[in-house]
Amino acid sequence: MDVLKKVPVREQDPKVRATNFSEVCYGYNLEEAQAEASRCIQCKNPKCVSGCPVSIDIPGFIKEIGNGDVEAAFKVIGKYSALPAVCGRVCPQESQCEERCIRGIKGEAVSIGKLERFAADWAREHNIAPEMPELTNGIKVAVIGSGPAGLTCAGDLAKMGYDVTIFEALHEPGGVLVYGIPEFRLPKDTVVRTEIENVKALGVKIETNVIIGKSITIDELMEEEGFQAVFIGSGAGLPKFMGIPGENANGVFSANEYLTRNNLMKAFDAEYDTPIIAGTKVAVVGGGNVAMDAARTALRLGAQVYIVYRRSEAELPARVEEVHHAKEEGIIFKLLTNPVEILVNDNGWVSGMRCIEMELGEPDASGRRRPIEKKDSEFVLELDTVIMSLGTSPNPLISSTTKGLEINRHKCIVADETTGLTSREGVFAGGDAVTGAATVILAMGAGKAAAKGIDEYLKAKNN
């Protein structure tokens, strides 16, 4: 074994997986995990931990895996994270924990994410669940939204003894983990559902089909239903469109719609009633994780798929692993290309997309080189489906129905970074609702911080 290299992880063959929705990556078995764990040199001052937004004791859990005590490893992780099987799969490790790993200086970083996933999967397969807290204080706290921010905040509060209810607008809990990230990256029935059950096992109640701001307001929760504090983890679900001609044609979807039909509503499964227009020639506009997910979903539904992105490969915001997987599966990248108009046939359906080539100019405010249109470079891509994946912003349903809740010009809720406190007393917020679309682990970090903030607030208030 080459200690400079990660123990390779087994994956489904690209040709086969391009036609199914089963998970791409198989993960390690015990033997492989132990071999990978032995690469960790158990740093006294572990840099990796400072790269993890929830500061998991990484050498601690890796050591237990090395010893073959996976249950102990799972318990170490459990002190910091309620969703290890999720994070081990979807965290951008290469720019977080693994980026700082000392092993990375001379070779490849330790596969922290894959080891974390291994411990969590092992625990699930061996039916090891967190235990219900012994003490409860009976104080009611409401959590809005059951994405990673809400689940983490609820789980932490329950561990401290609070009586927590999560209110979720959709019919299934999980947020983006359920409606956005596809099955082939994050299996729903096994991985996501189990981690949600684990949060419930801590005593957290989840009420689905309740839209805060419509079914009931935050003020009513506090005044009529006796919740002493509220955490808003409602995400950033509102899709953006480009505003180009033809965008309302039949066959143009937001990535959210396309992914929701397929993930939450399981259109890929013939047992479900959900219709989906899979498309035969599909362009996905955008270059983030969401765009990769939409593209790879369309591919699996049988389409030929382009990614249309206005900057170059180096600027793609998606995780390297996802871009790599997408290419392996046969997605065609049209980089330095921007849509100008969606062409529509007589029936109102998409027939193509007029695009223009771009080149990179001087860096802009974000430090990335600004794409500029190349003169006379327009061309037409023939298509029947276009998926817009241009980012999302927070939904105004809550901010517009809650008195005194301050938002910024991006419609994000203003909240203190260390406590989650908003401009409203007793109301806390975190995750994408505060930061705009970010990552699972950052949302979890914010949920954790807010749980602490809420605990301090309620202790001070009730004393």
Partner: protein, 300 residues
């Protein structure tokens, strides 16, 4: 059919042989809903999310009434549900309430309002008419349908509207003609004057009512029913062009100024899944044969 679902059907009534009314136990929705809003029903784990307008509600009993026409695969399945059975999911209230409710009372009392209901669109008109009467305002109402068999809620409507005019395309009941013929009769021959029309029914009907009322110079509100998924502003499936702006019907509507709605676009968008819907029906009838291309062509 009924697992441990909580949204129990407390009453089922068939209004015609294809239109049903159900009262569903959903206390959170019943407590906060108003005329103009809608709910989303998901019958079981594998079902679609079906948007339906709130037709009535009983805050004390905690029930919400829905009225639906069994047309496609989902609403046909819904018609098979009986009293005592329950839906898996029932979410709401969604969308904005009717703007009448938030209008200054003084202004409202001066308005002469005509409601125009088409077919199953009578159901969303009904709670608005009822609300008006209960708050002391008289309104007129036109109910139109293809023939006598599709006229619903007539007796209930008569309880609350000052005048109810029935019209059928084939003249089998009431006036003979479509709702526009009836509006013209009222305005031109009976000397009626209206300041506001609220028209709810099939898109094609709303489109033509708006063309007429534009000519007559009467402000018109319509309730749009595009394809929806989540109903909370997350997917954009329900987007419409209103004036020069793109709006999401579920959070910005469902009621809009009818003279600004791009109906042609909205009607095309409504057809988007028609062939796909056909596939679902086909699948249910013929088993798992829907993957072959033949069936798709077949379905169209």
């Amino acid at each position: 059919m009924t697992e441990n679902y909580i949204y129990t059907i407390t009453k089922k009534e068939s209004l015609t042989n294809s239109i049903y009314l159900m009262d569903v136990l959903a206390p959170r929705v019943a407590k906060n809903c108003y005329p103009g809003q809608f709910v989303i029903v998901k019958m079981d784990e594998k079902g679609e999310r079906i948007p339906l307008t709130i037709c009535d509600y009983d805050r004390e009993a905690g029930t919400v009434s829905i009225v639906f026409q069994s047309l496609g695969s989902s609403t046909k399945l819904m018609a098979e549900y009986e009293e005592g059975e329950a839906f898996r999911d029932f979410t709401g209230p969604l969308g904005h309430r009717s703007e009448l409710i938030d209008m200054p009372r003084e202004e409202l009392s001066k308005l002469k309002i005509l409601f125009v209901a088409g077919g199953v669109g009578t159901a969303p008109v009904y709670p608005q008419v009822k609300w008006m009467k209960e708050n002391g305002y008289d309104v007129d109402c036109v109910i139109g349908a293809r023939n006598k068999d599709f006229i619903i809620l007539e007796d209930r409507m008569k309880k609350y509207a000052k005048n109810v005019y029935i019209t059928t395309d084939d003249g089998s009941y009431g006036f003979k003609g479509n709702v526009n013929d009836c509006i013209k009769e009222l305005v031109f021959n009976q000397g009626k004057q209206y300041d506001l029309v609220i028209a709810i029914g099939p898109m094609i009907m709303m489109k033509f009512v708006c063309l007429l009322t534009k000519e007559l110079g009467i402000k018109t509100i319509v309730s749009m029913n595009p394809i929806m998924v989540d109903g909370t502003g997350m997917c954009g499936a329900c987007r419409l062009t209103i004036g020069n702006e793109v709006k999401f019907a579920c959070v910005d509507g469902p009621e809009f100024d009818g003279h600004l709605v791009n109906f042609d676009e909205a009607m095309k968008r409504l057809q988007m899944y028609k062939s796909e819907e056909g596939r679902v029906i086909l699948r249910k009838r013929e088993g798992d044969t829907h993957h072959s291309n033949d069936c798709r062509i077949h379905a169209e």
